[in-house]
Amino acid sequence: MTVRESSWGALEPDDRIGYRAEWDNTLDRFSAVVQAYGDQRLDQDIATQLIDVARILADFTPSLVRMQLRQPSADDLRRLGILSAA
């Protein structure tokens, strides 16, 4: 994500449009896996990897904001224990 952000402004608009569309879909996939986690349908090692991914996504929130990319939902992060329940 750091590499992507460093070259973001130099990309063609079509490449940014494509990346945003694909990223949006990636986060739908992430949400589907979080749902599986909530339903206790994931093996422990996959659940551990999912939480690692969620931490990375949370850490990159400022980059996502700057690139105007969709952020993971607070509900998903809370479900994984990355955000505390309000």
Binding site: P13, D14, R16, I17, G18, R20, A21, E22, D24, N25, D28, R29, A32, Q68
Partner: protein
């Protein structure tokens, strides 16, 4: 069948898309047919280009949305079939961020194109002003993915 030059085709599509994005209305059957034909035969690459190989690598090889053995040519075939599918939808997105319209062709994922992590719709994106292909992938959320892009349907999926 009326023979038209590529320049006439391009001018017709340019004009149609300009009117469509201005008035945000539903397409007629003839307009749908012309849009599908133009984007499938003139805007989507005929052969695997650098962009096709890049997108094939991401969506077929890495994300496993298509079957593992899908070639770049077959990936293109699946996108072309989606554009031409009469049951598929056509959606236009307003240029809020990049200041250029995007057109989406959306259709179901046929069984033969279902990979291990397939989605619920194939979506094919083009720049609707430069008439260039952007990307094609399988949307996890299907039509709901397209519905939330803050644009409008020129033609709804059946």
């Amino acid at each position: 069948m009326v023979a038209r030059s590529p320049e006439e085709d391009r001018a017709f599509i340019d004009n149609l898309l300009r009117r469509l994005t201005t008035h945000q209305r539903a397409l007629t059957r003839q307009e749908i047919r012309r849009l599908r034909q133009y984007f499938a035969s003139r805007a989507l690459p005929e052969q695997p280009t650098t962009r096709v190989l890049e997108k094939h690598g991401k969506h077929v090889e890495d994300d496993l949305q298509w079957p593992d053995d899908t070639t770049p040519d077959e990936y293109l075939v699946s996108l072309r079939d989606t554009i031409l599918n009469p049951r598929g939808g056509i959606y236009l997105v307003e240029p809020e961020i990049e200041l250029t319209w995007t057109i989406y062709f959306v259709g179901p994922v046929p069984y033969r194109w279902r990979g291990r992590h397939h989605g619920h719709s194939i979506v094919v994106l083009f720049n609707a002003e430069r008439l260039l292909w952007i990307t094609g992938f399988q949307a996890e959320a299907g039509e709901a993915y397209v519905d939330r892009q803050q644009g409008f349907w020129g033609h709804r999926t059946h």
